[in-house]
Symmetry: C2
Amino acid sequence: MVRLDIPPAVAAPPDATVTVALGDRTYDILIGCGLLARDAPWEGLPRARDAVIVSNETVAPLYAERLSQRLSAQFARVHSVVLPDGEAHKDWMTLNRIFDALLENGCDRKTVLFALGGGVIGDMTGFAAACYMRGVPFVQVPTTLLSQVDSSVGGKTAINHPLGKNMIGAFYQPQRVLCDLDTLRTLPGRELSAGLAEVIKYGPIADPAFLSWLEQHMDDLRSGDAIALQHAVRRSCEIKAQVVATDEREGGLRAILNFGHTFGHAIEAGLGFGVWLHGEAVAAGMVMASELSERLGMAPTGLTARLTRLLEAAGLPVRGPAGLSPQEYLAHMRVDKKAEAGDIRFVLIDGEGSAVLRPAPDGLVAQCIEAHTAPA
Amino acid sequence: MVRLDIPPAVAAPPDATVTVALGDRTYDILIGCGLLARDAPWEGLPRARDAVIVSNETVAPLYAERLSQRLSAQFARVHSVVLPDGEAHKDWMTLNRIFDALLENGCDRKTVLFALGGGVIGDMTGFAAACYMRGVPFVQVPTTLLSQVDSSVGGKTAINHPLGKNMIGAFYQPQRVLCDLDTLRTLPGRELSAGLAEVIKYGPIADPAFLSWLEQHMDDLRSGDAIALQHAVRRSCEIKAQVVATDEREGGLRAILNFGHTFGHAIEAGLGFGVWLHGEAVAAGMVMASELSERLGMAPTGLTARLTRLLEAAGLPVRGPAGLSPQEYLAHMRVDKKAEAGDIRFVLIDGEGSAVLRPAPDGLVAQCIEAHTAPA
């Protein structure tokens, strides 16, 4: 009797590739299931004696050993640096632990760093790579939805300063981004939702059809359907790649990726970083920014209500935290990197899938905040 | 009676300009007397609300007020940050004082930084500019000979790490370099000599005629003759500009600018940074590197003796410090940024005005160190 060895019918789509076209800094984003279980996705990286995996206390126990095995086929020495988890540690002291490890192990300027984790790990590893010996190559291995669809793509790296988030950093592109969708299975639901905030963002600023698709597939996404997740990650990366290729250093267009972020950053700063997840703050921030766009007569009527429903379906907050006053928002906004000479500039929706950056009157901004703040 | 208002016959040559050709990062080096006393050299810089002068406790009292007056014609707000003086402070903590000042003053991402001082100030200000909000423009105003002929040109910025010098930094080009030769009048003789080490360096690696010129004009240079100084600064900058334009990110050729530096860094690290001036360590390092080149049959015979005479005439040490063993040199050299997988690579002279980067046997390196070390 012949038994056919047919694999079970799991929903594992073939790998997708998105290219970020940046001249001699061009790189690919690979999106698929089981990337950490296969050698091929890791081949063809810059050659070096040393590879250094940078991860955190949550992610390292899950995936660092598997990544280390993959890399040992190509690098004579594979080191690991395990950092404390969380936005609160995205500071110089923690960054310096990466430099310590690199220097203690005698890593030279060809060493390749691997960021294994979420946005904080990606931002810190990328900034460490940008600065170590004035620049070594690095690879993003994002393990959260938020970092797969946003922070690992585009080369923005940074650490926080006590007086402002992401104030110290560099534009520094990775060699490759490897999004293993399987890693999302270990992601807590609250963090999956936070990542969905950045996915949803791409609809109003760039793609009305994607916004509709999200409205139809939110349940699939939250239940971890691989085909739906791959589509969401790929479409997000495609939009981001196109924006970044047009405006790598945020001279103009790129700022639209910060839809909801000016309000969101104020929420994060006002509550203290880490109380709300970044994606949660961006969710409430998008509602406020949409409201502001509508009140200025720019956005399609009803966008705010539509966004609110979608964000709620994604399990996200749609109102700012009680007790944070408009004045506090405005004070934090004035030190936002997008501010110029103290003038706050907002990403506003000015049509279906279209956004612009411009200032708005303080009074109107305050009204929008008040309209979407939770009661005390 | 008519009195002609003829100025006294001071030796003030017209300004010289050297262009560093780096595509959209191209900039000019202006070399002349009295630049701080005139408005024209400061015009045409990027427009912004804020200018920030970064200087140290030694230089700020001499020139910060004058620079502030110049800048107030173009910037609504001119801030100053005064750092402690010296290589020992070229660290993260001191760098962070620049970030603190920028954020406390609400400086936005158009803010222009001005590095007013020597190499340490230039390196730290440049690195702060590279990182603040992921990059703001900066201008070099070098007030030491060493920084005018070397560190302010070419975009290498960095801070030190306890385990290695200049280990954390960026390639980041200034908008302009303004070398006011008048500022050299307040430079202590020991520091003028240290700067001459980097001037002399350009002879053996790139320009035999310049080496001969230096042998003929060393007295003029040490006595502060403006025409001689301008020629030395200009020729040094021309050579460096050409090398940097060919190899901005130190892929190969640029490494020749580090002639004597592998030995020199070992001296600095071995004694503790700041005991010898950088230029002093490079001087003794060049003698050792020249000896190594001769023993390998690469350099013109007699180069080491000739360099030794010239360095002595410049008031520089030509022997390594007593008590620092070859083994200590070698240990420090292995963490040099030019090392690859632990192999030390040296800049060696392989002809008149020509240098290459290559490894050398440890034993021979040790002999060269011993041959040029001061007796205990």
